[in-house]
C-alpha cells in the first residue's frame, strides 16, 4: 500500500484534459482536499469549472508552493512573473481559485488584480471588467461628492 504522500491524483479539466498531480500538492485546494478526505474513489476528479489552460497554470502554482525547498524570496519572484498575464486571464484564475478554494493562489491573484485597478480610471475599470455603468448622472455626482468631500 503506497503512503498518502506518494499518491497521485488525476485532475480532469472541463475540456477533458487529464493532469497528474501528487495528492500532497493538490490538497492545497481545499475543494480537492475535502473530496479526498471524504473518500472519493473516482479515477479522475472532474473539475467542471476549470479549463485546461487555467488548470495547467494552477498546477504550476501548486507545485511551486508545495516545494519545501523554495524560499519566500523565490516564491515572491515566482509570483511576480506568474501574474504577468492578460487581465482576462487574471480574472479567470481568480474565479478558478475561488471554485477550487485555493487560498494562496486567491491572495496572489486578487492582489495582482487590485494592483492593476489602482492604476486605472473608473471608466477603465468598467471597460476591463465589462461592467455597465448603472448610475444616472445625478447619482454619480452625488457619490463623487460624498467620496471626495467627506471620505478623502
Amino acid at each position: 500500500m503506497s503512503s498518502p504522500e506518494e499518491k497521485t491524483l488525476i485532475l480532469k479539466s472541463s475540456d477533458n484534459e487529464e493532469f497528474l498531480v501528487k495528492e500532497s500538492v493538490a490538497v492545497q485546494c481545499i475543494t480537492i482536499k475535502n473530496l479526498v478526505e471524504d473518500g472519493c474513489d473516482l479515477d479522475a476528479i472532474p473539475l467542471l469549472n476549470v479549463d485546461s489552460k487555467n488548470l495547467a497554470w494552477i498546477i504550476e502554482f501548486m507545485e511551486k508552493y508545495a516545494d519545501s525547498t523554495s524560499t519566500d524570496a523565490e516564491k515572491k519572484d515566482f509570483d511576480t512573473e506568474f501574474v504577468k498575464k492578460p487581465f482576462n486571464d487574471v480574472l479567470g484564475l481568480i474565479l478558478a481559485a475561488n471554485y477550487l478554494n485555493f487560498p494562496a493562489l486567491m491572495d496572489v491573484m486578487c492582489d495582482a488584480c487590485a494592483n492593476e485597478m489602482k492604476l486605472w480610471s473608473v471608466e477603465q475599470v468598467r471597460e476591463k471588467f465589462h461592467i455597465q455603468n448603472d448610475y444616472t448622472e445625478e447619482e454619480e455626482k452625488a457619490v463623487r461628492a460624498e467620496n471626495f468631500w467627506a471620505f478623502e
Partner: protein, 573 residues
C-alpha cells in the same frame, strides 16, 4: 464571464485596496460595486468632521472598524482658533455606540474629547483596540482611567501633544492584571505623576509591548527597570534622564541599554543631564528615528557627538540649538536622512545662534534622500534656496519659518520669491508648502505655475495684492487646504473663483482684507460651503457693517449644511 464574479470574490479583491482613494474609486464603478465596497470598508478617513454627519457615516459604512477624524483647522496650533470653536467627538461616539459597535480603532486630531466621550468608548465597543489622540483637549486622566479599566483588548494608547488635566494620577493603575495586550503606550504629554510600580508591572506583563513613551515623571532608575523587562522595545520615549553619571543607577542603565538592540526610534529626554547621554551611544547605530525636540538641556557639543553615531538615521527632529555647525555634522553623518525638523528653542535661551541658510544648504548637499523639511531659522537667502532646490528635487513637504516673518534675503535684501520659485519648480512632487520671509505676489505666480501636486499651502505676512491669492487659486489644481494670515488679500481674490472652494477641503483667512459683505455674498452664492466668521470681541453684534474687515474666516465644503454646535462667537453665514 464577469457577471459571474461572486460578491465574496469582489470583496476579496477589494481587501487589497487599502487607500481610501482606491476604495472611493471602486465605489463609482457601478451600484453593486458601491454596495460590496461599502459593506466591506473597515477603515474610514474623515478629513473634516463637519463635512459629513455621524449618521451618514454609519449608514454608508455600517461595518467601520477604524475611524480617523480631524476637527479644528491647522492654525489652531498657533492659538488662532478659540478653544471651544468645535470639533466635538461625542456625537460620533454616541452614534456609533448605537449603530456600529464593531469599532476597534479611533484616531482623532484637533478634536474636543470629553471624559464622557472616553467613558462611552470604554463602555460601548467590546473589541476596542486602539486610541490615538493628537493635539486634542477637553479630557482628564479620569477618561484615560475609564479606557484602561474597560478596554480588555487594548493594544494602543497613543497621546501626542494633548492638553490633559491630571487631577488624580492613578489612571495607570487602572489597567487590570488581566491586561497583557498593550503593544503601544505613549503618555509623554501628561504633566502629572504616574504610579511607577503599576507602570513596571504593566510593562512586565505586556510581552508584546513595542512602543513606550514615558512622561517626565518617570525617573532613570525606573526606566532602567522597565528596559530590563522590555528589551524587545522598538520605540522608546525616555522621560527623565537626569542622574548622577557616577551612580549605580546610571551604570545599570548603561548596561541595560546595550541589550536594547531592537530600538529604532528614540524620543523624549524631557529632563536631561547631557553627561548621561553616553548611556545611549550603544544603540545609536540602529536608530532610524530620533526626536530631541523636547530636550532643551542638550547643548550643541553633546548633540553633535550623539548624532555622529546615528548613521542610519532617516528622521531627525531637533531644536535650533544644534546650530549650523551641528547641521553640517548631520549632513556628513546621516546620509539616509529623509525627514528633518528643526524647531525654534526658547528665545530666552541666550547663546543660541539659531540657524541660518548655511545649515540647510549643508543638509541638502549631504542628504540626497531628503523629502520632508520643517526649518525655523533666523535668516534665509535666495541663493541658498536655489541650491537646496537643485540638490533635493524630491521634497514632498517643505516648510520654512523665518523667526522674523518678513525678513528679506539676508545678503541681497530682496524678497525671497525666486528662492521659493526654485523650490516649486524643481520639486515636482511637492504636496505641502509653507512660505516665509519677505514675499511679493511674484512667489504666488511661481506657485500657481509650478506647484502642480500641491495640496496644502500656508501663507503668513506675504504678498502685495489680490493677484497673489488669485494666482494660487487658478494654478494649483490639486489644492485642498489653503491657510492665510496677515496678508493683503481681499474681496476680489476671495470672490474670483467661488467654485474653486468646492474642490478644496477648506480655506482659512485671518487678518486679511476680506469684508463681512464679501463673506456674506460668498455664502449666499455657494450654499454647500459653510462660511464661518470667528469673532472674539463683540464688535460685530447684531447689525454689522458689510464694509468692515473680518478678523477670522474659515470656510469649508460640507454635505450636511451649517453645524448646530458652534459657540456664540462663531457665525455661520
Amino acid at each position: 464571464m464577469i457577471n459571474y464574479f461572486p460578491e465574496e470574490v469582489l470583496e476579496h479583491v477589494f481587501s487589497f485596496l487599502t487607500s481610501h482613494r482606491d476604495r472611493n474609486a471602486v465605489s463609482l464603478v457601478c451600484k453593486s460595486w458601491y454596495n460590496v465596497e461599502r459593506f466591506s470598508r473597515g477603515k474610514v478617513f474623515i478629513g473634516n468632521c463637519y463635512a459629513i454627519s455621524p449618521e451618514r457615516l454609519i449608514s454608508r459604512f455600517p461595518r467601520v472598524r477604524s475611524l480617523t477624524l480631524k476637527g479644528k483647522p491647522h492654525f489652531a496650533d498657533f492659538n488662532l482658533v478659540l478653544h471651544d470653536w468645535g470639533g466635538y467627538v461625542y456625537p460620533w461616539i454616541e452614534a456609533m455606540a448605537k449603530g456600529c459597535t464593531n469599532l476597534e480603532e479611533l484616531r482623532l486630531k484637533r478634536m474636543l474629547v470629553s471624559d464622557a466621550s472616553l467613558e462611552l468608548i470604554a463602555k460601548s465597543f467590546p473589541n476596542f483596540k486602539s486610541l490615538v489622540l493628537v493635539s486634542c483637549e477637553g479630557f482628564t486622566t479620569d477618561g484615560l482611567a475609564a479606557i484602561a479599566s474597560n478596554c480588555r483588548f487594548l493594544r494602543e494608547l497613543d497621546l501626542q501633544e494633548n492638553e490633559v488635566e491630571d487631577p488624580r494620577g492613578q489612571w495607570l493603575s487602572c489597567f487590570p492584571d488581566s491586561c497583557t495586550s498593550l503593544a503601544s503606550l505613549n503618555f509623554a504629554c501628561l504633566k502629572g505623576e504616574v504610579n511607577l510600580a503599576a507602570l513596571e508591572r504593566l510593562v512586565a506583563r505586556c510581552r508584546n509591548l513595542k512602543s513606550l513613551r514615558l512622561n517626565h515623571a518617570v525617573p532613570p532608575d525606573v526606566l532602567q527597570k522597565i528596559l530590563a523587562r522590555a528589551p524587545q522595545l522598538v520605540d522608546l520615549g525616555a522621560g527623565s534622564f537626569v542622574h548622577d553619571p557616577e551612580s549605580e543607577t546610571y551604570n545599570k542603565l548603561k548596561n541595560v541599554m546595550q541589550k536594547c538592540t531592537s530600538i529604532r526610534s528614540l524620543s523624549g529626554f524631557l529632563d536631561v543631564n547631557a553627561r548621561c547621554l553616553p548611556a545611549i551611544y550603544p544603540i545609536c547605530i540602529n536608530l532610524t528615528s530620533l526626536n530631541l525636540s523636547y530636550a532643551p538641556g542638550i547643548y550643541s557639543k553633546e548633540l553633535v557627538k550623539l548624532i555622529r553615531k546615528c548613521k542610519k538615521l532617516q528622521c531627525l527632529w531637533i531644536l535650533d540649538t544644534i546650530g549650523d555647525k551641528g547641521l553640517r555634522v548631520v549632513a556628513s553623518a546621516c546620509k539616509e536622512l529623509q525627514e528633518l525638523r528643526v524647531f525654534k528653542s526658547d528665545p530666552n535661551d541666550v547663546g543660541n545662534a539659531a540657524i541660518t541658510e548655511e545649515g540647510l544648504v549643508a543638509i541638502s548637499a549631504g542628504c540626497p534622500n531628503l523629502n520632508s523639511l520643517l526649518y525655523f531659522c533666523r535668516q534665509m537667502t535666495n541663493t541658498a534656496l536655489i541650491t537646496v532646490a537643485k540638490n533635493c528635487p524630491n521634497f514632498i513637504r517643505f516648510r520654512l519659518c523665518t523667526l522674523d516673518p518678513i525678513t528679506p534675503d539676508a545678503v541681497t535684501m530682496q524678497p525671497l520669491d525666486n528662492g521659493f520659485g526654485a523650490i516649486v519648480q524643481s520639486c515636482k512632487g511637492l504636496k505641502r508648502l509653507s512660505v516665509s520671509g519677505l514675499l511679493t505676489d511674484q512667489v504666488f505666480l511661481y506657485i500657481g505655475m509650478y506647484a502642480e501636486q500641491l495640496e496644502t499651502l500656508s501663507i503668513a505676512f506675504a504678498g502685495n495684492s489680490d493677484k497673489g491669492m488669485v494666482y494660487v487659486l487658478n494654478g494649483c489644481k490639486k489644492l485642498k487646504k489653503l491657510e492665510i494670515r496677515d496678508s493683503p488679500f481681499g474681496n476680489m481674490a476671495l470672490l474670483a473663483d467661488t467654485g474653486k472652494y468646492e474642490t478644496m477641503r477648506s480655506l482659512w483667512m485671518s487678518s486679511c482684507k476680506v469684508t463681512f459683505g464679501a463673506c456674506k455674498s460668498l455664502a449666499e452664492k455657494m450654499p454647500r460651503l459653510n462660511v464661518e466668521i470667528i469673532n472674539e470681541g463683540d464688535e460685530m453684534e447684531g447689525g454689522s457693517d458689510d464694509r468692515q474687515n473680518v478678523e477670522k474666516m474659515y470656510l469649508y465644503r460640507t454635505l450636511v449644511g451649517p453645524r448646530k454646535d458652534a459657540p456664540d462667537s462663531v457665525w455661520t453665514l
